[in-house]
Symmetry: C2
Subunit: 270 residues, 2 copies
């Protein structure tokens, strides 16, 4: 798929959209046999593109993953990035800010973890938590929230100009799907380590979170750093969609393998 084909899931700048108007599932289900073959092709291509990114070091890639609890941020990282080499690929999770991080500007802890040219970094949560949570909990005055959104736009424009390609994805699940997944965390011993009281607190604030996400994505989805809504009720569809979108983004960068810095023919093996 080309990047243009993802237009239905791309948020436009200042778009007044409702997440509830966007389906949490893809319209058609691909046959399982086709899907396996498609995934194999996709992951092979992802590997090639990441190798070109790493070898040429002309640009870096930042993939931002956001979404409600159980929306599949950990899962999509495991399923998609198991297929690329950790050489040049790094996943970075952000928890609640530490005491030291809270004494700095909200982009301080983010900036230090950004990719260099040649690297691909996946953010499991991000600087968007610092406009999302304070908005829902009313810790931030509206004027300060607007300032932070503008600062994020400028910060991401700087990153783009300095060689970082940004792809921001909201993993979109329904409230019903979250109920099933949280119940599984209660019932299944293997999943209980993920249980957190805050998940249940945040669930009560679902409408406020949706509103905050809508406002935040609308304010920060730009041509150079767009937001996409990824239908995420079905896990395998979500993984394939994200892999397709990432590959399309990398294809759109027109990466090239660098020229050898020495003449390969000049070496003689003794």
């Amino acid at each position: 798929m080309t990047l243009k084909q993802f237009a239905p899931w791309k948020i436009q700048t200042d778009d007044r959209f409702k997440l509830s108007d966007i389906a949490t599932r893809l319209p058609e289900k691909i046959e399982k046999t086709d899907e396996a073959r498609r995934l194999k092709t996709l992951f092979d291509r992802l590997n090639q593109l990441q190798t070109m990114l790493y070898a040429s070091k002309t640009r870096g890639v930042l993939l931002v993953l956001q979404g409600m609890d159980t929306s599949g941020k950990d899962g999509v990282i495991r399923h998609v990035f198991t297929h690329v080499s950790p050489l040049g690929v790094r996943a970075q999770a952000f928890a609640a800010p530490t005491e030291e991080e809270r004494r700095h500007d909200f982009l301080w802890r983010i900036h230090s973890k950004l990719p260099a040219r040649g690297d691909m970094v996946i953010f499991n949560r991000s600087h968007y938590e610092d406009v999302l949570v304070p908005q829902v909990r009313a810790w931030l005055k509206p004027a300060m929230l607007q300032k932070r959104l503008a600062h994020i736009r400028h910060f991401e424009a700087m990153l783009h100009d300095e060689g970082i390609t940004l792809l921001k994805c909201y993993l979109h699940i329904s409230k019903g799907e979250q109920k099933k997944r949280l119940q599984a965390r209660i019932d299944e011993p293997d999943k209980q380590w993920k249980l957190q009281a805050s998940d249940f607190e945040d669930r009560k604030l679902w409408p406020a979170f949706m509103k905050a996400y809508e406002q935040m994505m609308s304010a920060t989805s730009t041509q150079l750093a767009p937001w996409y809504v990824v239908p995420a009720d079905d896990k395998s569809d979500r993984n394939r969609f994200l892999a397709e979108l990432l590959v399309a983004t990398l294809e759109d960068m027109h990466l090239k393998m660098p020229q050898a810095t020495v003449k390969p023919g000049s070496f003689k093996l003794l």
Copy 2:
């Protein structure tokens, strides 16, 4: 002195000024006896203000020092900041970017060294080197230079909003004064460790550096992050001027000692 009294040395946004129109010396020389007393008062007040900054942790301070070689960046740090506690005060020098730093955006290495709220950080050279040197050496296309200047404005506005007060100083020496100081580095064994071939290369490009400084300061001197030109041909005048300007900036922040978090009277000593 109040901050307003420094207006003659403050660069206005988009001001088309010439550094050659600004004197590298102060108009009147204060008597030596008065000066010692004035300095003592100044340093005592600087100490009080820095203690309030550290105790209240409501804002941080970033002092940026730029200037040609021998303009006194090291000297002013030594003379002014010897009088404050290193608890909460840090000087940070930036050399030519490392291989790793060059693979990141130009603000990456800067951001990680910025003050937290409560801290005062002095930058000996800064992100301004990354618009200055590439401009003089013509490594950067003019469009990219303009973008970097805009990114710096936005970055510094973000810092201000997030609690960092910025003060940017250009240490202004004449080409004649530099000649004397470089000659001293050649002649005096104690100063020879500072000799660098690049100082002599940069001296040849003096007019290009002046032009680059003028353009850069004019583009990035804002109400929230102003540039001041510090007359620096006379070392003791330079030190006093900078201390006065820093104290005026700190006074303007209206810092307060925080309230005790416990009732002091509630403790009983056994």
